[in-house]
Symmetry: C2
Subunit: 222 residues, 2 copies
């Protein structure tokens, strides 16, 4: 399968790129609004992968090119770019392309981070509204510890929660996520349950802020 990580030069994009490249046989495409930036990130990722003995190929493209080539497109962009990024790549998507969104709307104050969803109810539902009707949309990879995800030496045993209305697309993404070593993908139901999933992201940031021993924290549901 081909996996495009749009905004794949950011935190979550880097971690997913490295782990998909190291742990799976799928082809990883890094997308960026600036293809030069995508290619620079690819050089970094290939160097990290080589240092870890992984003989993986990662390719860099403009977002539109990456999305056009991919079977699974991950919108690893900040939440306020999610809608515009969907619009920018909409022509390259069809019912054969699964659109995955890990972004979460948050606002910080002196206490910590707070969940701040868009009017659609969640970024996941906003993406579903903006995507062409035939394109299956899946929410996943929201609450991962970004530092641990991008550190291939880190001990990694975390869960991710997956929401979708399309059962086939949900299964594909759960299977794909499960191919990452130490990652378990649980079913959190339809897109209408996305807000509760997304709101864990500000919470893990708050837990990291107030507990010294948990500076880069993720979650296991047990």
């Amino acid at each position: 399968m081909r996996i495009a990580l749009l905004g794949g030069t950011g935190d979550i994009g880097e971690g997913l790129a490295l782990r998909f490249a190291r742990d799976t046989d799928h082809e990883v495409l890094i997308g960026s609004r600036d293809p030069e930036k995508a290619r620079d990130a690819v050089a970094d990722y290939e160097s990290i992968l080589e240092d870890h003995g992984a003989d993986a190929t990662v390719k860099g493209f403009a977002n539109e090119m990456a999305a056009d080539r991919a079977d699974v497109v991950v919108l690893s962009v900040p939440p306020y770019y999610a809608g515009d990024t969907v619009d920018a790549v909409a022509d390259t998507l069809d019912e054969e392309t699964i659109l995955v969104t890990p972004a979460v709307g948050m606002q910080g104050d002196e206490d910590g981070m707070h969940y701040h969803p868009p009017g659609a109810g969640s970024v996941t539902e906003l993406v579903a509204q903006r995507a062409p009707d035939a394109v299956p949309v899946v929410g996943a990879f929201h609450n991962l510890a970004a530092g641990k995800l991008a550190d291939l030496d880190a001990e990694f045993d975390l869960d991710t929660l997956v929401v979708a209305d399309d059962d086939g697309a949900k299964k594909t993404v759960r299977d794909l996520a499960g191919e990452i070593e130490g990652l378990r993908a649980l079913d959190a139901g339809p897109l209408g349950n996305a807000a509760e999933v997304e709101s864990v992201t500000p919470l893990v940031i708050n837990i990291a802020k107030y507990n010294e021993e948990l500076h880069d924290v993720g979650v296991k549901w047990i």
Copy 2:
């Protein structure tokens, strides 16, 4: 210390009563609007504790009497009774009494459960608004797996998140929670961070609904 569990005949009240009674030396008081119901629950709990070889005394009272005698008062009532229960026991509370709230506002639909906070932003903040000013309010015990909590034979290794503006009260409740075997109490910051903590409760219900192997699920932050 004396711990009063108001509404201590319900799910979370039962689990906390059994585990505080078995695992700590503190005195456990069960409160109910109907003292007869409290005494019936106490008989059940003492029988369960005896079956598990625990020689613990639990006492049953009307909510006001239980609160009056306690150092820590846990509002283990449904969220829509939380405010009225605070009003009912307000005269028995003072700056020496810590008021703990585990309740969460939720609404269900065909997809699952959804976080539905009161206008105060969270049940925890609503309780803080309704309590007399001098009384320290702590949010804790929100996201526990109620079945596991009340089953003294269940494998139990879960986290609870604690929020409070009063650092002393927060520490007391974290220490108290930590005395329950297999329970770790993490700091989630001030009361202003309560909504993100509370919103995990509908999420664990959704995870239980959609994952067969997790029918009574809790959370570890790792």
